[in-house]
C-alpha cells in the first residue's frame, strides 16, 4: 500500500487518534512512570527482586503460558471444526465462543470455582479418578485463564482458515500427498502465524488477569499468588510505591509482548506479499 495523494482526511483522523489516545490511555498510564520516579533505582530493584514478587511473576507467567498452550491447542481444533465441518448445532456453538468475553470475570471465577471445587461437579470427578485437586491450586488459575483465552484463539485462527485457498490443498493432493502431509506441510504452516498471535494474545491477557483468578487460585504466597493480587495487597497497605514498581514492570512486559505480536503480524503480511 502506498501513500495516496488524493486520499483525504489524514490530518483530522490522525489528530483525533493521537489526542484521544493521549487523553484516555497515555496520560493515565504515564502516572505509573512519574509515580515510580519517587523510587530510587535501588529501591525499585529491591522491590522487584524480592522473593515474593519474583515468585508471583513465576506463578503468573507459568500459568498464563500453560493456559495459552492448552487454549491454543484446543482453540485451533475448535476453529478447524467450526470452519471445515458441518454438524448439528454448529451455529449455536459458534455464537457461544464469545461468551467468556462478555461474562464478568468475577462471575467466571465464582462459576469455575463451583465446578472445580473438590465437591463440585468436575472437581469431585477429578479427585476421585485422578487424585487431582484443581480449585485453590495453581491448576485452578490455569483453568480460569483457559476460559478467558478461548475467544482470542478461536477468533484469531478462524478467519485465516476461512480465507485458506482450497486450490493449494487440491494441488498438493493431486501430486500425491497424503492428508497428513497436506495438513503438516500446507495448512498448518499457513495458519501457524495466526495461531501464534492468538496464543500471544491469550498469554498477554492471562498474565494480567485478576477477577476470575482470585476466586479459584487459593492465593497462597509463593505458590498460587499472582502478580495483580500482589499489587492489590501493596495498595491495601498504603504502599503506593511498591504497587507502582510492580505495575510498571508489568506494563513494560505487556508493551513488549504486544510489540512482538504486531511485528509478527507485520512479518506475516510481508511474507505473504501484502506489503
Amino acid at each position: 500500500m502506498s501513500q495516496s495523494s488524493i486520499m483525504p482526511g489524514f490530518r483530522p483522523t490522525i489528530g483525533f487518534t493521537l489526542i484521544y489516545l493521549s487523553l484516555v490511555v497515555l496520560i493515565p498510564l504515564s502516572t505509573l512512570v512519574f509515580k515510580s520516579f519517587e523510587l530510587s533505582w535501588d529501591d525499585y530493584l529491591h522491590i522487584i527482586t524480592s522473593k515474593r514478587v519474583l515468585d508471583s511473576f513465576r506463578v503468573s507467567f507459568s500459568t498464563a503460558l500453560l493456559a495459552a498452550f492448552i487454549a491454543g491447542f484446543f482453540g485451533f481444533i475448535v476453529a478447524w471444526v467450526l470452519v471445515r465441518y458441518s454438524f448439528f448445532g454448529k451455529r449455536f456453538f459458534h455464537a457461544l465462543i464469545d461468551f467468556p468475553f462478555a461474562l464478568p470475570t468475577a462471575v467466571a471465577g465464582i462459576v469455575l470455582a463451583t465446578i472445580f471445587q473438590p465437591s463440585g461437579f468436575l472437581g469431585k470427578f477429578l479427585i476421585d479418578t485422578f487424585g487431582l485437586q484443581v480449585a485453590f491450586k495453581p491448576l485452578g488459575i490455569v483453568m480460569a485463564l483457559i476460559f478467558i483465552s478461548i475467544p482470542f484463539v478461536v477468533r484469531t485462527v478462524e478467519p485465516v482458515l476461512l480465507e485458506f485457498e482450497p486450490a493449494l490443498e487440491e494441488a498438493a493432493s493431486s501430486l500425491g500427498a497424503t492428508r497428513l502431509q497436506v495438513f503438516g506441510k500446507i495448512i498448518f504452516p499457513n495458519v501457524f502465524p495466526a495461531l501464534l498471535t492468538g496464543f500471544a494474545l491469550a498469554f498477554a491477557r492471562g498474565v494480567g488477569e485478576y477477577g476470575s483468578v482470585i476466586f479459584i487460585a487459593g492465593n497462597i504466597p509463593y505458590v498460587s499468588e499472582i502478580v495483580p493480587l500482589l499489587i492489590v495487597a501493596k495498595l491495601e497497605q498504603y504502599d503506593y510505591r511498591g504497587a507502582t514498581a510492580i505495575a510498571l514492570t508489568m506494563l513494560v512486559i505487556s508493551f513488549v509482548l504486544l510489540l512482538m505480536i504486531n511485528l509478527l503480524q507485520y512479518w506475516v503480511r510481508k511474507r505473504s506479499g501484502q506489503i
Partner: protein, 288 residues
C-alpha cells in the same frame, strides 16, 4: 493469508466438499467430539450453571431479584456506561483505522501497539492509574477537592476506566480488514469526483460494516461486563456506584445466590442474544 482478525463470512462456513481432500470420517468425528467436548466443558457448563443458579429458587425469585431497586440501579448505571463509552470508542476506532491503513507515516507500529496496550494491561493497573490521577492524593486531587469535582468513586470514574478497558476493540477489528482491503475502491470513487465524506459512507462503510458491528458488539460486551478496573474506581456504594458486575459480586457476598446469578444471567443473555442476532443478520445479508 493475512489479516488476523476479521469478520466471518457465513457463506464460506460451509465445508469444501472435494472428495479427495476430506478428512477421514473417524478423524472428522473425533475432532468434532474434541471441539464440542471442550466448548461444552469450558463454555456450556459455566453458562448452564449461571442459568441453573439464577433459577434455582424458581422464576418468581428470579424476577424479584431482578426488580430490586439496587439491581435496577446497577442495570441503569451499566447501560449508561455502555451508552457513553461504546460510541466514543467506535468513532475513535474508525478514525484510527482510517489514519493507520490509508496513510504511511513513521511510528505506525508504535501507534498500533499503543492502541492495543489497554487490552493487555492488568485490570488492577487500569483502575489504579485513575486513582493515581484523580484520587484525593493524586495529581489533580487537590484541584478537584477545591472545586468539588468528583471523578473517582463516582460515575465519571467508572466511565473513564471503562473507556480505557474497551479502547482497542473497534480499532482492532477494523485495522486488519481495512489493511487487507486496500484503498483502490476509495481512490476510484474519489477520482470520479466523490467527496471524502461521500466516499467514506458509500464505499468504506459498506465494506467494513460487519467488522465494525462485531467490534461494537465486543466493545459493548466488555463495557458492560468489566469487573476488575471498575471495582477499583467505583467505591461500591449500593444503588449508586455499583455496576451490574459489581452488583453481582456484592449479592454473592450477601449470600444472595439467586440475585447474583440473576444479574450474571442478564449479562450472559445480552452477549448471546447480540451474537445470535449478528449471525442471523449476516446470514440474511449473505442469502439475499
Amino acid at each position: 493469508m493475512s489479516a488476523i482478525t476479521q469478520p466471518i463470512n457465513p457463506t464460506r462456513l460451509v465445508a469444501p466438499q472435494q472428495q479427495a481432500l476430506q478428512d477421514a470420517d473417524w478423524v472428522r468425528w473425533s475432532l468434532i467430539a474434541v471441539a464440542v467436548g471442550f466448548i461444552s466443558l469450558f463454555i456450556c457448563l459455566p453458562l448452564g450453571l449461571v442459568i441453573f443458579q439464577a433459577l434455582s429458587k424458581g422464576v418468581a425469585a428470579y424476577w424479584s431479584a431482578l426488580s430490586q431497586n439496587d439491581t435496577l440501579a446497577a442495570i441503569n448505571l451499566t447501560l449508561l456506561t455502555a451508552l457513553v463509552t461504546v460510541p466514543l470508542n467506535t468513532v475513535f476506532g474508525v478514525a484510527a483505522a482510517w489514519a493507520i491503513t490509508r496513510f504511511e507515516f513513521k511510528g505506525k507500529s508504535l501507534l498500533t501497539t499503543l492502541i492495543d496496550l489497554p487490552f493487555s494491561v492488568s485490570p488492577v493497573i487500569s483502575g489504579m492509574i485513575f486513582v493515581l490521577l484523580f484520587g484525593a492524593q493524586g495529581w489533580f486531587g487537590e484541584w478537584m477537592m477545591a472545586h468539588d469535582v468528583k471523578i473517582i468513586f463516582a460515575v465519571p470514574g467508572i466511565i473513564l476506566a471503562t473507556l480505557f478497558i474497551t479502547f482497542p476493540f473497534v480499532a482492532r477489528q477494523l485495522i486488519p480488514l481495512m489493511q487487507e482491503m486496500g484503498n483502490q475502491e476509495e481512490e476510484a470513487a474519489l477520482s470520479l469526483g466523490a467527496s471524502g465524506w461521500k466516499t467514506f459512507w458509500a464505499v468504506t462503510i459498506p465494506n467494513i460494516k460487519w467488522a465494525l458491528l462485531y467490534g461494537v458488539l465486543l466493545c459493548n460486551a466488555r463495557a458492560m461486563g468489566e469487573f476488575g478496573a471498575v471495582s477499583v474506581v467505583s467505591g461500591h456504594i449500593r444503588g449508586l456506584t455499583n455496576t451490574l458486575p459489581l452488583h453481582v459480586e456484592v449479592s454473592y457476598n450477601d449470600y444472595d445466590v439467586v440475585g447474583a446469578f440473576a444479574g450474571a444471567s442478564i449479562l450472559a443473555a445480552l452477549a448471546i442474544v447480540t451474537l445470535i442476532l449478528k449471525t442471523a443478520l449476516e446470514w440474511r445479508q449473505a442469502n439475499r
